[in-house]
Symmetry: C2
Amino acid sequence: MTATPLRLRITYHLAGSTRAAAARARDLAFEQTVELPPDAVSPEIAARFAGRVESVRPLGRRRSRAVVSFDPAVVCGDLPQLLNLLFGNISLKAGILIAAVDWPEPLLAQLGGPRLGIPGLRALAGVPARPLVCAALKPLGLSPASLADHAAVFARAGIDIIKDDHSLVDQASAPFRERVERCQEAVVRANGDTGGNTLYFPNVTGGPRQLLERVEFARRVGCRGAVVNALPAGLGAAGAIADAGLAVMAHPSLGGAFFGPDHGIAPAVLLGDLFRVAGSDAVIYPNVGGRFTFSHATCRAINARLRGPLGPVLPAFPVPAGGIDAARVPHWVERYGPDTIFLLGSSLYRDPDPGRAARRLAEAVRRRAHG
Amino acid sequence: MTATPLRLRITYHLAGSTRAAAARARDLAFEQTVELPPDAVSPEIAARFAGRVESVRPLGRRRSRAVVSFDPAVVCGDLPQLLNLLFGNISLKAGILIAAVDWPEPLLAQLGGPRLGIPGLRALAGVPARPLVCAALKPLGLSPASLADHAAVFARAGIDIIKDDHSLVDQASAPFRERVERCQEAVVRANGDTGGNTLYFPNVTGGPRQLLERVEFARRVGCRGAVVNALPAGLGAAGAIADAGLAVMAHPSLGGAFFGPDHGIAPAVLLGDLFRVAGSDAVIYPNVGGRFTFSHATCRAINARLRGPLGPVLPAFPVPAGGIDAARVPHWVERYGPDTIFLLGSSLYRDPDPGRAARRLAEAVRRRAHG
């Protein structure tokens, strides 16, 4: 984003012939707003509320690049409506990919974005400059006591943030309240012993009422942040956690549904722009070379969209994850730089001594950052 | 669903070689639950909490059909977690399609499904047997007074349900409270004059707190149901509206992201099974032959999954929409039968006299149903 547009400008890649592209772009501009064909809308309403096709250009191989702009008043600061405006009805058509978004500053100010961002989360963690290390509490099926034991081990090892696995909800094996209370207690006790400052972020994903109750409970027992599956819970869930004063670590669960090569929302737009403006202070994504399918270029693009200038919106931490090998973390530190949270799961749990593995990892990151 | 399974059984279609399919199915079963490889999980946890591969069979053309079953306790009655379990992390892999779900009865009882269903919504509307007719209030950009005028016209014409367009949120052109109060008033007044029983369903989509506030406001001013964009707001939003005692009409906005031919969730599973168990009394979908891309077979499959037997879960109304021509409604009545709500938008607004067009439509459906 260089200039500051007055309208919300969306770059769509449209499949099909160049000849058809202009009509498809115009159709999209009406479909996503007034949801009526142009001949059924008054010229005044069409001019103010329908999208406006700014440009349509060939992109090669039967694809076109169309820029459509919208009055930000249509979003009215509402996160589900933002998703709906961008891709709601047209998701049900074919061959439409959202490649980029240019954000008008008043809309950014209205949406708010991260309340803490990189600087605020650094302050919470007491880590002014180096990369952060995060470990996942797992697996689903363990009791609260066993999860709390893991949390204590990781906290004593010097891990910066310990997060619930994103599938820990309110299962009978580890009910939400008991789990969160015990894990938070374990981390506080470990911090007391070590003089450390490890944070515990429980997973608060749930329906609207459950989510608000879980956030409030987590806050009450002293947690300073939370994990949320921002798509299953609705993008507004991130904002609700931020409003409650907790740091937001957003998980990309379900996100892959949007990452079709010619239909959907580009990963850097969904996990970068949208998760960030929704209020995420840190966004987890599947790193290249792990168990998932992102390329180097995709990971770089997500990092850039999370950290780059975006009007009044604070930068958010990228959290590469999804099968990072602890031994390779120094390599990723070189590659991604200090404004990164490295999230490790399997690699620690596969070690016969996860505490030792976590300590080695934490020390390697501290050494690397000072070296 | 014929037998009643004890476990939640998901049928996945996996792209790739048959030889790889068994390993992919096993990988998926662990990825979606304990999120650790088998060698890093205790045998007790793996046996109880990881998915279990029930069968893997070739499906032709480098595709396999894998049935993986899960302990329903993993869902713990939580709708976002249900989505997460089915497709959360594996959405970020490639070539995985959810083709069918077999539901264990205790899980269905726990999730609840529609509170009103077809019989309850019929009772609300005072329509015991014939199809229902629904009109959309639009376009975005109109004032509350103008939207209320439309509502009055449609109510006087004998439309059964008048719903907000799914993009009407809380825009300055028609703020939520003023819009809902005025439209509800207009419909009540029209009912008083005509002796009719038209219902007005406002769109209550929003973040968790906004959604709960909007639902409560709608209830307070006398609305008996609401529209929700169930994916942008999170699947739990439908349940929250149902819990508040309002009928739920779910809109498929964003749904198309899931409808990749070899990666995603089949429309009949997402809009049929999942929207229904989430608590929707009526589910809008883009009818074949309109502006969108569903086939006849897809529409029939959605209808069947919404209406068919599903343990203790009530049937829900299919709401075909997305460019139905009013003149063709009698044809669709023949085709889809009486347990259907026909939703019309453009076709009414393009008429020089939308009230007359709506009356003709309402009369045609009443005639057809009694003929």
